[in-house]
Amino acid sequence: MARKFATIKKELDKVLATTPLEYDRMLTLTNELVKLDPHFQRFFVDAKTLIHLGRDSIKDHTTALLELVKNSYDADAKNVEIEINSKTEDLIRIADNGFGMNEDELKNNWLRIGYSEKRISKKSKLGRRKTGEKGIGRISTDRLGSNLEIRSRSKNGELVGIKLNWDDFNVEGKSISDIKVEFFHPDKISLPTFKGEKALTGTEIIITNQRQPWSSSNIDNLYQELSSLTPPFEDVVDFEISLSNDVSPRPTKKIDTSFLKAAEIEIEAYYDGKGSEIIYTYWDKYNKKEKIEKIDWRNLITKSNLTELDNISDELRCGPVTLKLYFFLREAASVKDLDFNLRSLREFLDNNAGIKIYRDRIVVKPYGFPSSQFGYDWLELADRKAQDPAGLSRAESYRVTPNQLVGGVFIQRDTNIELADSAAREGLIESEAFYDLRSLTLGSINMLESYRTKLIPEIKKHKSKGKSNESRTDKIIKALNSIEADLNEINQEIQEIEDVDDETKNRIEKNINRLGRTSIKVEKTINELLNWNRTLSGLATIGISSAVFGHETEGSITQFKGSISAALILLKKNQPDIPNAISELNKANKYSKKVAAWGAYALTRVQREKRSKKNINLKKTILNVINELKPAFQASSTEIYFKSEELVCYTFQMDIETILINLLTNAYTAANQKSGKRQVNVELKSLNKKGNSKIKGYSISVADSGLGVSKEFSHRVFEPLFSTKQKANQGSNSIGTGLGLTVVSSIIQELKGEITFDKDKDLKGACFKVWLPLEKEKK
């Protein structure tokens, strides 16, 4: 060994004496010499290892590019230019105006694999928390192309660069130190400008001989991921990225944070990292007032049905977290009074929907990129919605649609140590801390959903504000008339043009006249249909009221028959019981009248004269209906009181009767749900509608002593086929059709009225109040 040592040493001395120095030979000999150390041996790294390391750590070329952009961010760059040319030339260029590297940094830091200054100095001069720590981001360039050239200028003004070919590393049996990386002083460097100012320092990376071509969808994906690199919730003014390419050219656009103003609900959750308390701040566009509430972590999880109580830790293991959720409606009302249109909002949502994780303000892939090529729905929001597709009206099972949510979970590398990167540089290690973070996010979505269901009355009110009082029929007729008037005008103009021949003029006139006649027919048909609808509503009301009051009639018929039968039995006895027989016959007579009254009630409901519009005495109309239904109410010990003013209105009697019967039917059912005193109050009074212009009108209110409308169902009472009658304590399962209030509200809409309901102050049950305009006959 001593002889071998002497031989190598001798040769090394010889190499050191040569000019120019044979560096490769010197390195080989030094390595050989080191191996002769009798006490210690050292690892040697195969060149190929570097390639494996890079390719195993970086999933795809989008991730590789993002790694380079993150490096620029860590270098305090304010602007990053990305150029991807696959079609016209073979070039990828990433240039930033960061602090750059000097010769020493390039040689000792960049070329030292696994070295990360970010471990030593965690924050940049601009105060940015550096994103990477493993010191392998630079190998990602291999994923993009084989030839790499780096040019950099730091504050000392010196231009330095290196060139390498990654393919040189991809050979068997070579040590990493055997591969040459060219160091050079470039003539020029092209750095991005920032706010018109030319950059003095920065780095330019040029990659050629690309590994794979970029497709249009790759570019879309990259664009989306770059857009999401920093959170859209705060205007990140000091970091811009521009992307140009020859694959799918598009104007580079900065994310506009003003879209957030269109959110219907905004929720912020804050957990300070200690204890079990989470502070929620809610904001919505209807109340415009913040609401703050504290929720215990365990409560949040059990409330959201996320896991069994036994499996919940006492406090969150993920460390301090801030969570922001924005809920958007993808409809025109969202952009009202804002500077952008619905299309732009939808585009913003398409690009940003999802709940992303941001660590030190930089996105952690792949969380919350549901639509991106390699992203995934980490919260399974889409599955959740698919399992419960119910709309907001079904409050108990309402789930937000993922494309309506934009959100961010904010963590920090220094404070959320448990949330570590997975080795594959994509995502976090799925530890208990991660699962707690996920549960907190899902629980917060749940909080948003329950907050939104509580807003239902406001949402409805807001929606109805925009609706005009004009009925749909009026709108159609108005539109037809307007078209007709326009066409007549056009016709007149055409008739005056000399160049148009007579035959054409005649044809146009004939057709316009035909259209005029057709529009009269359409109007007539609509009126006939409305009349038909009126009759059907009346018939439906008979059906509804029969289902409710029917048993009263059935009972009367049975009693009538029973009394007749009893009278016969009493008379057939050996000693006929004449007084009781007479009493039974009197009863039979009484009940036959009740049956007849019900028959008359049903027959008179859809009388032709009630279907035409005329002056009717409202008090008399209402009183008649009350009198007709009174026996049924009395049979259930329900007193019915009527208070009224004398009012005459030009309207359809059947409409008023249908509204009233339906409200009375509901009041009857509601009153019967309680024992003790049962009462229904009906009141008719004149009531002018306040607003921009006073409209003369009247109100009909029906109040009952029942249990009132449960808050849980208050937003659904006008929904077709929704009925609480099937849940009545004392009722059978089949009496509610869920049509009564739907019929009522459609008539009211046609009559340009309104319906509201509240708790009755006196009877403590529900009070439905209908307002209708007091029309007078036009003479």
């Binding site: 048993h551 059935e554 009972g555 049975t558 009693q559 028959k561 029973g562 009394s563 039968s565 009893a566 039995i569 009493l570 006895k573 019981d577 009781n580 039974e584 009863k587 009484k590 009940y591 049979a635 259930s636 010990s637 019967n672 309680k674 024992s675 003790g676 049962r678 004392q730 059978s732 399962n733 089949s734």
Partner: protein, 220 residues
């Protein structure tokens, strides 16, 4: 006199049924009487138990929709026949209970079918009263016979227990009858004897104590 009890909130209906039933019972030479009542406006339902016991009710007829009407200042009571049956059954396990109703198909009522002897449509009863009343009479007699035999045996065993002559085997039998007839266990003769023995022992102790105090006072 043993009676059939009718519980119905509709006075007209109730009275008609009473007249028809009485006529049919008379026709069948039955000694059963008929008593009718408006449902009790009650929360504890205890009134029903004493009404049944005091009026020797051996057969019950309910209206299903007994929750609607009021009579005088009473009612509406708010509970239906299918709810009342469960309460009555807790105390009177075997008493025959029929429903005569115009709402035979009501699902709430049908769900309690097993609690009743039968659910009869009012129309069915009008059409076939004689047939139904014969069944009523048989059911009432069965109930009466079973309860009379057991009551007699109960009386005999109770007497033996009171005089302290009851055997261990008979004491078990007595308790079984008590359970079946829903008679309160506190009156158990065996237990009463134990209690009396203990009571006497305590009195003896107090007597001793009294004597001791007297002696001490005299001693001073």
């Amino acid at each position: 006199m043993n009676n059939i009890g009718i519980i119905d909130d509709n006075k007209d209906q109730r009275e008609t049924l009473k007249l028809v039933l009485s006529a049919h019972l008379e026709g069948a030479d039955s000694s059963l009487g008929v008593i009718d009542i408006f449902p009790f406006d009650t929360k504890t339902f205890e009134e029903y138990f004493s009404w049944i016991e005091q009026n020797n009710i051996v057969f019950l007829i309910f209206d299903e929709m007994m929750h609607n009407e009021s009579e005088g200042k009473t009612g509406p009571v708010g509970y239906r026949g299918n709810q009342l049956v469960e309460i009555i059954r807790k105390r009177f396990k075997d008493i025959p209970i029929y429903v005569i109703t115009a709402h035979k198909g009501d699902s709430d009522l049908q769900s309690k079918f097993s609690e009743f002897e039968d659910i009869i449509g009012r129309q069915e009863f009008i059409d076939d009263g004689v047939k139904w009343v014969s069944r009523f009479i048989r059911a009432a007699q069965r109930y009466l016979a079973e309860n009379t035999d057991e009551l007699e045996e109960f009386q005999t065993l109770a007497k033996q227990a009171a005089t302290g002559k009851i055997t261990e085997e008979d004491l078990i039998k007595l308790k079984a009858i008590q359970t079946k007839l829903q008679l309160p266990h506190e009156t158990s003769m065996g237990e009463r004897k134990d209690w009396l023995d203990e009571y006497e022992a305590r009195i003896k102790e107090i007597e001793k104590l009294k004597n001791k105090i007297k002696t001490q006072i005299k001693g001073e």
